[in-house]
């Protein structure tokens, strides 16, 4: 199949193309330099249209136990947002925690072609993969959660060799078919079960005697030494606690130059100034990030309305459970190895704290200079459902719209924020970096997020409009691996995405030790823990893509 996309205005930051008119050629799902004189089977006239690679959401909770729990907890979320069968699309429902099919359709209709689930518990990875495999039109991948699991904490507290920890980390990534490692409230999920209700960066876990700082360093080093492209994905300590900006700054300096990704940093940027002892720490965070090139972040912007927060951080979710709206929540242990907390939440624009959270997220976006190191997320569904992305893009690209919105929120919060005095507006090029090129580079996806020859033909075509929310809500065309899947914001073909993974090398000696550990302590045998290729690919829908690790070559 040969396709020609004629005369579009291309934004392809990975190849330094900023709004140039170009023709694009697709041969069998891949972008090529030219068709070598062959006649294209299809040609699309894209004159006057904006062409970007398919967008990548690098942190979105679309699979795994907590999403299922959120769905079970909130039948009203489904009743209030039914999605009847329409054309090729099967029925679904859900606003904050949509069903798998609806998730895929809605992402595709916004021009997204990949989404990464950031909290895959190793022991529940199979279920997460099954669920993600049921999301149509979207490439997926998962970061597997370590740092509060007993085996790792035992290794660390016994002062084990880093080599052994590396082997364990690599073995876990491979057997759970993940693309990275995430750590959630390092050690805190475990500490919660030992009756600690708080665990600061340098506070010892009462049983294992290790601190979050040690855990972060050990895991960040493991990920780095194994050559996994995506740096350690960190949901830090003290989420949502006023004053946690200090913890976050200590976390940044404490990692000592190792690559680290701080996720939903908005929830970790709170100061204690002012009458209400709650203030924005965004300026200090942005300054630290501008100065430390090893750090990347995604924002976790909140947007007003009803949503549900779903996290592995049972310690912090338990602390926030009193704010649940509607008034019901779940906090639970998972297989003695991790935790989970689901708290429905309504962000209100007239509420001081919520309004300031909104400002802090936007300040973070606007004060960090390098768009290659900041990513556009709402931590779906924790800050807002992913369907709010076009609105968020407009807030970033349109200063007067932003100031109009600022005028409607809690005036006390608005007065405390510097947001009104920030003039920056994101350009289309910068949006393309944040949502495409940067995300692909961060994850080590060499053939995604750009439009150069050899890239997979995941392409989104928009009509440039003054109202960026409208523009990004409804792309004209979306191609997934070279197939036209969305036309004028409507799904016209349903295809299934790929699973992105990495397979770092390790010494197989770890398996004997793990086998013994599984036999003694776990609810399943080691052989059942490891996910096989056929479990993903067996139904002929998803393909596993393995991205290279660069062991020892990175400095």
């Amino acid at each position: 199949m040969l396709i020609k996309l004629t005369g579009g205005t291309v934004y392809d930051p990975a190849n330094g193309i900023d709004g140039q008119v170009r023709n694009l050629f697709i041969r069998d799902g891949r972008i090529v330099h030219s068709l070598n004189g062959a006649t294209p089977d299809q040609e699309y006239d894209l004159r006057g249209k904006v062409v970007m690679a398919g967008a990548i959401d690098m942190h979105t909770h679309i699979g795994g136990g907590k999403v299922t729990i959120a769905r079970n907890l909130l039948p009203e979320d489904h009743r209030a947002d039914p999605e009847p069968r329409r054309g090729l699309m099967r029925a679904g429902c859900g606003h904050a925690a949509p069903s798998t099919l609806t998730t895929g359709y809605r992402y595709a209709e916004m021009g997204y072609t990949a989404g990464f689930e950031p909290a895959v518990l190793p022991i529940n990875a199979r279920q997460a993969h099954m669920e993600m495999a049921d999301v149509p039109l979207l490439d997926v991948g998962g970061y597997v959660m370590l740092g509060s699991d007993d085996f790792f904490l035992r290794l660390l507290s016994a002062g084990s060799d880093q080599k052994l920890i590396n082997d364990y980390v690599a073995w876990t990534i491979r057997s759970a078919k993940a693309i990275g490692i995430k750590v959630v409230n390092p050690g805190g999920i475990s500490a919660f079960k030992f009756n600690q209700r708080m665990l600061d960066l340098d506070e010892k876990h009462v049983y294992y005697g290790v601190t979050p700082r040690q855990i972060l360093k050990s895991l960040a080093r493991a990920v780095h030494e194994l050559g996994v492209p995506h740096p350690l994905h960190v949901h830090g300590c003290n989420l949502g606690v006023p004053g946690n900006v200090e913890t976050t700054l200590n976390t940044i300096s404490g990692i000592e130059g190792l690559p680290m990704h701080l996720t939903h940093i908005q929830f970790h940027s709170y100061g204690v100034e002012g009458d209400r002892k709650f203030s924005s720490g965004a300026a200090r965070i942005a300054e630290a990030i501008n100065a430390n090139k090893n750090i990347t972040i995604d924002v976790g912007q909140i947007l007003f309305g009803q949503t549900v927060t779903a996290s592995g951080d049972s310690m912090r979710q338990h602390a926030n459970a009193g704010h649940a709206h509607p008034d019901k929540w779940v906090c639970m242990d998972i297989e003695c190895d991790a935790g989970c907390g689901v708290v429905p939440f309504k962000y209100r624009d007239k509420n001081f704290v919520n309004a300031l959270q909104w400002c802090i997220g936007l300040e973070t976006f606007l004060l960090i200079d390098d768009p290659w190191r900041v990513f556009l997320t709402t931590d779906h569904p924790n800050g807002a459902p992913f369907t709010t992305y076009p609105h968020l893009i407009r807030l970033l690209m349109d200063k007067s719209f932003r100031n109009d919105m600022l005028a409607t929120i809690n005036p006390e919060a608005a007065a405390l924020s510097t947001l009104g005095s920030i003039d920056r507006e994101y350009s289309l090029y910068e949006i393309a970096i944040m949502t495409r090129a940067g995300a692909a580079r961060l994850l080590g996806l060499t053939d995604r997020g750009h439009l150069g020859a050899g890239a997979a033909a995941d392409i989104t075509v928009y009509t440039d409009q003054a109202d960026k929310e409208k523009m990004f809500t409804r792309p004209d065309y979306v191609f997934k691996d070279g197939e036209l899947v969305v036309r004028n914001g409507e799904v016209v073909k349903v295809v299934w995405g790929n699973l992105h993974t990495v397979q770092p090398e390790f010494d197989n000696g770890i398996e004997a030790r793990l086998r013994d550990y599984f036999d003694r302590y776990h609810t399943m045998k080691l052989d059942n823990f490891v996910i096989n290729d056929w479990e993903i690919e067996g139904d002929g829908r998803s393909k596993i893509l393995v991205h290279p690790c660069h062991q020892g070559t990175r400095s």
Partner: protein, 270 residues
Amino acid sequence: MTALSFTLKSPLRQRLDASPLVPDRLLGKSPKEIATLDLQYGNRRIAAADLFDIAGDDAESVRISGSPKLDFAGRGMTRGSLIIDGDAGAYVGMHMKGGRLCVSGSAGLYAACELKGGIVEICGNAGDLLGSALPGNKKGMSEGVVIVRGDAGDRVGDHMRRGSILIEGNAGMYLGARMTAGTIAVRGRIGACAGYAMKRGTLLVYGSPVSIGATFNDCGLHTLGFLPLLLKGYQGLNTCFSETRACRSRVRRLVGDLSVQGKGEILLVA
């Protein structure tokens, strides 16, 4: 003007969502528009005239022939009257805010669930979860009156917030479970676990004797001054609860459920 009536041409073969057939949504529509109203019938859509013979012209007063498959009748209605001639399916009167809804037969599950106002009368029996909250919701019926001439099923008034449920027959298990407030009166017998986890509210029970949970505290026999006043409020509704004898009764007061807030009461009429 005669009532706008929808008479089934043949018995329903699938579940029908009858929620568009309420005065609010029929007023101001021409006969042709009403005939072509799109209804959800099983897994497909169907025009109203394909299922019903439609006659009459007064959309303030609607009659529908009954069927146990007729769901959501009177959903969200705010005015006028709706009469179901025969049985109704599930969710009859759900989210209703005003007006009068009468089922001449029996109603299925979740009748009058999350009722917000108006009067619902069921001449036959009512199924489980009468006047309760939808699954997962925290607030059941919050205003209005429900009258059941026959028996009601289990979990009547689950999560009920305000309003009155008057049952002239018997009621099943878990009567008034998780109630926050409101009044449920039962003329006949009640099942086990009445008032389970109720915080506030009143269960007025005439049938005797009943088993009461251990988390209810017996406060003895009383002549409560407020009781005649409460029952007087139900005069005009044409129920057995406004008879003179009922108003003069002494009651045994049991307070609970002490496993939660414990400000509710079960009044057993002596």
